[in-house]
């Protein structure tokens, strides 16, 4: 019992570190797209590990936490994709570091496709 709780605490701690790095990324990244990269997705592993840690600490919650984990796995990519697509559609500029933009060539003919 003790061992399980200590393990759970450690797993949650690692998750929290990933969440912190994700938010640090939001401050440091140069443009919206890169912020989406770190802000919404470097945090996936953080959230998952945090939930698993809570589940180890309190095993009777584990089944519900599995439902939560799958909910995050299915909704998180949709929201970050929609954010990025909307940002591109209203013409948010890419940072000067950008090396290539293939989407620029193919847009223009039909935006709704």
């Amino acid at each position: 019992m003790e061992v399980l709780q200590i393990t759970g605490g450690f797993v949650s701690l690692i998750g929290a570190v990933f969440l912190f790095l994700g938010s640090l990324g939001i401050v440091r990244m140069p443009d919206s797209y890169n912020r989406i990269q770190t802000g919404t997705k470097a945090t996936t592993l953080g959230t998952l590990m945090f939930l698993i840690g809570v589940g180890l600490y309190n095993p009777s919650w584990f089944p519900k936490l599995i439902v939560l984990i799958f909910f995050i796995l299915f909704t998180n990519p949709v929201s970050s994709h929609v954010l990025a697509r909307a940002a591109y559609s209203i013409g948010t500029e890419l940072t000067k570091l950008t090396v290539v933009d293939k989407l620029k060539d193919s847009r223009g003919e039909d935006i709704d496709a």
Partner: protein
């Protein structure tokens, strides 16, 4: 029929996980309710029609799960490393990749997997092309980028969804 079956299995597993028990009362009431819901919705929404249910597909589904978890860890560590290194070594850009998957749900899973792996983010889909924002572009041509981003997931998804 297959659509109905997969809907029932999915709904029933969510129900059992939320209840966290396997008592006969829970299972029977869950079966009745999920069957009614699945009959109503699967007639109008054939979303699982393209999924395959042969043993190979099921084995590949679990293999895909492990491959995906591994990729998730690897990519998270990579992005975390970029965030903490003082020089901020990013090399971003939007690349185009091609997919061989034809079914809608297969493409949905591919786009979601790409987006969930940090470092790559699906910005748009147009016919066979996915436009992906990549935090560290290492090849700008379609073939090279496809090989690096898509193929790892695609070989499993192809068996599961076709």
């Amino acid at each position: 029929m297959k659509n109905l079956f997969i809907s029932v299995v999915l709904l029933l597993s969510v129900w059992l996980l939320l209840n966290a028990s396997l008592s006969p009362v829970v299972i029977v009431s869950g079966l009745i309710v999920t069957a009614i819901i699945a009959i109503f919705f699967s007639a109008r929404n054939p979303v699982f029609k393209d999924m395959k249910l042969n043993p190979k597909a099921i084995i590949y589904f679990f293999l895909y799960f492990f491959v995906f978890t591994f990729e998730l860890f690897k990519a998270n560590l990579d992005v975390a490393k970029r965030v903490i290194s003082p020089k901020l070594p990013i090399n971003p850009g939007i690349v185009e990749v091609r997919t061989r998957l034809t079914s809608k749900i297969g493409r949905l899973f591919l786009a979601n997997s790409i987006t969930l792996t940090p470092g790559t983010l699906t910005v748009d889909i147009k016919n066979d092309s996915l436009f992906i924002h990549w935090i560290d572009v290492s090849s700008t041509d379609i073939e090279g980028a496809t090989k690096k981003i898509v193929e790892n997931f695609e070989k499993y998804l192809e068996v599961i969804y076709g």
